[in-house]
Structure formats: C-alpha cells, structure tokens
C-alpha cells in the first residue's frame, strides 16, 4: 500500500517535470535561438547545417553595434535613447492622465458620464494600425511629422484607454471613507487625492506605468509612418529596416534585440508582481 502511493507520487512528479520542460522549450526556443545568434560570427549564421548554440563564441557583433552597425547612417545608441526618451515621457503623461480620469470616473457622478466611459471603451477596441492614414494626415496638419512629440502624443492617446480602465478598478477598490475623513480634516478633493489616495494606490500606478512603458517602447506601425529621417528613428523602426534587407546578418539582429530587450527585462525583474497583477486586474475588474 505504502509502495503504491510512493510510486504514484513519483509518476506525478515526473509528469509535472515533463510538462514543465515541454512548455519551457516551446516558449524559449525561438528566443534563445535569436539571442544565441548574437554570439555567432557572420559566417556561422549562414552555416549548413545551422547551429543552435554558437560553435565559435564571439563578442565581435556587440562591438560592431557600439561602433555603429553595418551600413547604418545613425548609430544604434542614438536610436536607443530616442526610444527611451519617448517611452519615458509617454509613461509619465499616460500615468497622470489615466490617474486623473480613473479617479474622476470612480468617484463622481455627472451627466453623460456613460458616454465618456463608452468613448474610453471603444477607444480601446479600435486598432491603431487601421487608422494610419488619417493619423498621418492629422499629425502632418499639426506640424508634428517626423518629431518625437508627435509620437509621444499618439502613444499616450492609444495607451490611455487601457490604463484608465485599470485605474478605475484600482480607485474603486479604495474605500471612500478614507478620503472623506481627509476632506473633513480640511483637505480639498485634489489635495486629498494627492496626499491620501495616490499613496494608497501606488501599486496600481506602477502597473499603469509599466504598461504605458512597454506599449510605447516597442510600438512599430506609427513610428513607421511618421518618422522619416534616420536620426529620429526609434529602435523598433531601425530594427525593422534591418530585417527587410535581404542580406541581413541575423547575428546583428540578435545583438540589437538584446540591447533593445534590456530595459524590458529590468522592468520585468523588478516588477513581475505588478505585471501579473495588472493583467489580472484588467480582466477581473474589466
């Protein structure tokens, strides 16, 4: 009897490990393949049969990228900081706008509130790529073509519906009594919001910020349409230009991707908890 139970446990453990390995393999295979390529010398990317891990390990590609990359007018570092600037400003703007709107929707009743909420909801449904033509015209008309300001405004507008939705859920979870007592103690609604509500909802704010950062950091279609000069290009754009050339060095692509993914991994390492919570909150509270 004791033996059967023990055997059953072994099978169970074995099955769990097997499933874990299969899932991890499927998830990791393409990513590791790309990253491994960044350590291969040029000739190895065109080797037959192809190698999965580098046979000959080298850092040359990274050096090449830091020196400017193959046939590339603007250095990668410039693209990197363009992207970083745009993503950070977008994050700040989005967080502020969606915190204000989320609080307003969670706490106030006013005429046509339903319509405003509907605008936010439908705004989340409309896919950006399908709006490229009129958006390009709009940005051209307000004179922001080929500027980072134009991209920042667009990214903010397209991030705000989702983050506002998250923020409403967050603020509704905070009991009204807490700020009501602050109001009685002589705060006005705004100072009560700053001093009492915001500190309580910081986890929600961090989630919002992470989403805004990730969305704008890797956005591609708008940048493709609006940015024209090499100096203004964001990372995704510069990377995509690299892919479309037929004789691209896949190892260079891998190395650039590594560089590009560093901030994402940093965000991910420090904030995995918020990340998971954010995804869950987005759908659980809807």
């Amino acid at each position: 009897m004791e033996n059967i139970k023990k055997n059953k446990n072994i099978y169970r453990t074995f099955a769990f490990w097997l499933i874990t390995i299969v899932i991890a393999f499927i998830v990791l295979f393409p990513v590791v393949w790309l990253f491994a390529a960044s350590f291969k010398p040029d000739k190895e990317t065109f080797m037959v049969p192809p190698s999965f891990l580098p046979h000959e390990f080298t850092f040359d590609i990274y050096q090449r990228i830091l020196e400017g990359g193959t046939a590339k007018p603007a250095p990668w570092i410039l693209n990197f900081f363009n992207s970083l600037k745009i993503a950070l400003v977008t994050t700040v703007l989005t967080t502020i706008l969606s915190a204000l709107a989320g609080y307003g929707f969670a706490r106030y009743r006013f005429p046509y509130k339903f319509i405003l909420l509907l605008i936010i909801l439908v705004g989340q449904m409309l896919p950006g790529p399908a709006l490229l033509v009129p958006i390009a015209v709009l940005i051209e008309n307000i004179g922001l073509t080929n500027t980072h300001t134009g991209l920042i405004l667009l990214y903010t507008a397209f991030a705000v519906p989702f983050t506002t939705w998250l923020a409403i859920g967050n603020f509704e979870a905070i009991p009204r009594e807490i700020e009501e007592s602050a109001l009685v103690d002589g705060c006005n609604q705004f100072t009560a919001f700053i001093k009492v509500v915001l500190p309580l909802s910081r986890i929600g704010l961090i989630t919002t910020a992470i989403f805004a950062f990730l969305m704008s950091w890797s956005e591609f279609p708008f940048a493709l349409v609006l940015i024209q000069t090499d100096e203004q290009q964001t990372m995704p754009l510069a990377m995509a230009r690299l892919i479309r050339e037929f004789n691209v060095f896949f190892n260079e692509m891998g190395a650039v991707t590594m560089l590009f993914t560093i901030p994402i991994f940093l965000v991910f390492l420090f904030a995995q908890k918020y990340f998971i919570r954010g995804i869950a909150a987005g759908a659980l509270k809807g």
């Binding site: 991890a24 709107a101 936010i120 705004g123 399908a130 397209f158 759908a283 659980l284």
Partner: protein, 307 residues
C-alpha cells in the same frame, strides 16, 4: 472625527448631480477623454469622410463618390482575400490562445516546484515586442539556414521554408500569434483560479464531488467572467497585430498572408490610394465592433450580473 460629519460628507456623495460636483467630474476626466477623442475618434471620422472620396495622392483631383469606394473594395479580389484571411486569423488565433492559455494557466495554478519560475518564463513571448518575435520565427524557417526548416527538409517535409510557402504561411503566422498572446491568457486564467475561494472545493469534497465535478460545477462557473472578458481582450489583441506580418512576409507570398491591417497599409502608404485605404479601415472597424458587440451580447448572462 465625529460620526455625524462623516455622514454629512457621504450624503453629498449620494445626492444626484450637483452642478459643482458635475463640473469637478468633467475636470478630472476630460483631459484623458479629449486626448482619446482628438487622436483616435477624430481620425475615425476623418476616415469616414475620406472613405466617401476617391482620394489618391497620385491624382490631382478628389471628388465625392459616396459609397462607391466601399462597393469597389468589397468587390475587389485583393480585399476579399485580406478579409477572409483576417476572419481565419481572428477565429483560429483566438481559439488557439484560449485553449493553450487555459491549459497552461491551469497547469501553472497547480502548485509544484518550479511553478513560479515557469510563470515568469511563460510571460516571455508576450514581453518581447511582436516584431522581435517575428524576426526570430522568420529566421527559424529561412531555407537551409533556419534550424526548423533545415530539419523539416531532412524529414521530407514538402515546403520547409514555411513563410515562403503559399500553403503554410498563414497557419505559421497564426501559430506565431498564438505563441505570442497565449501568455496573457495563461496568466489571467492562473490569477482567476487563485481567486476561487478554497471553501467551495472543501464543501464539495465533503459532499462527495469528484475532481471532474468540482471542475465543471465550481471552477468554470466561478471564473467564467474573467474567461469571457479575457477572450474578448485576446481577440482584440489578435486583430491589432500588424508588425508580425509586416516584418516577416509583408502579406506575401503574393497575398497568401495578407490581413486587413497590412492591406490598409499597402493601399495607403505604398499605392497612396487614401480613399480606398480609409474605406477598408471603416469596414474593418465595423467588423471589429460587430464582432465585439455580438460577442458581448451572446455572453450577456455572464457579465450582466456584474453591472
């Protein structure tokens, strides 16, 4: 602080629309709403206006043609192919994400050694940008240099360069999208499974329910709301994909992997046919909104109780 003052403040909250409070409500919410109106809704209206014209940046004149452009688009073969592909994309992408996400999410929920690490790993395809994922997949299947296509050829697979094959290009890209968006669904399923109160299971166990019965009668009903909303979110993400196709095949070979977003981009920015591009966008929105409303309507029993 006295109880009566607390009640007084609450009373203000409960009173209907006072004009001052209504103004405050607008002050808080309008900055975000106006931003959305200006950068998302205004372009939609602009699209609607453009779609009634035959505007082409290559022609000198633009004239109003009413619904003519819509008719042209709906009857053009290229549009029909892109539309059909988008429908296939939506159905199989969403179904695939739902099935894989549910299974993986359920597996992650079972507490075992390494489940936390696996949860972090599973998120990876969703965290990396879509075009990076696309690049990796593209190079996996590029002739004899790609590790997947190389071994596919070894085992005698007819068209090993999957993304260059008219038969396999769309299924491969759909698999790629499933691979990319499944993490969202798995995390969601795992999080909602965690929110099921354990007492429910304990009570059912006392009553002699089998594991399967507990799953059908407790787990599924309790997490059906996140499942319904999560699937809608998934489908909206699937419909938004553009870069995945654009950086791998640009809709090719010929137009076997053309979906509406790439079709619209091609019309607008490669052929400079802005009128037809706008009309296609409008048809696409109509398609998405109809789909979302039908979906929400058919699951109204699930989400209505939450209102």
């Amino acid at each position: 602080m006295s109880k009566s003052s607390n009640m007084a403040v609450s009373a203000i909250h409960r009173r209907g629309f006072s004009s001052r409070r209504a103004l405050y409500g607008y002050a808080w919410t309008l900055p975000a709403v106006l931003c959305v109106i200006f950068f998302i809704f205004y372009p939609v209206f602009e699209s609607a206006r453009l779609s009634m014209t035959d505007q082409s940046l290559l022609a000198m004149e633009t004239k109003y043609v009413g619904l003519e452009t819509y008719k042209d688009m709906l009857t053009s073969e290229e549009f029909q192919v892109a539309f059909k592909n988008s429908v296939i994309w939506l159905i199989f992408g969403t179904l695939g994400v739902f099935v894989c996400g549910f299974l993986i999410g359920f597996f992650l929920h079972l507490d075992f050694i390494g489940s936390r690490l696996l949860t972090a790993l599973v998120l990876l395809p969703w965290v990396i940008p879509d075009f990076v994922a696309a690049t990796a997949w593209k190079w996996l299947t590029v002739g004899e240099f790609g590790i997947v296509s190389f071994y596919l050829e070894k085992i005698g697979f007819p068209e090993p360069s999957l993304l260059a094959s008219s038969t396999y290009v769309l299924p491969t890209l759909i698999l790629l999208v499933i691979w990319r968006i499944t993490p969202l669904m798995s995390i969601l399923v795992r999080a909602s499974l965690e929110s099921v109160p354990p007492e429910y299971y304990e009570a059912a166990e006392v009553d002699g329910a089998t594991a399967w019965q507990r799953f059908i009668y407790i787990t599924i009903p309790t997490i059906r709301y996140p499942l319904v909303i999560g699937t809608l979110l998934t489908s909206l993400f699937v419909l938004r994909e553009f870069a995945v196709v654009w950086v791998t095949t640009q809709g090719g070979p010929v137009n076997y992997s053309e979906i509406l977003p790439t079709f619209i981009y091609r019309q607008g920015f490669m052929y400079f046919e802005t009128g037809p591009a706008a009309a296609s966008s409008m048809i696409y929105f109509f398609f998405i909104l109809t789909f979302a409303l039908l979906y929400l309507f058919s699951f109204r029993k699930v989400w209505k109780e939450l209102l």
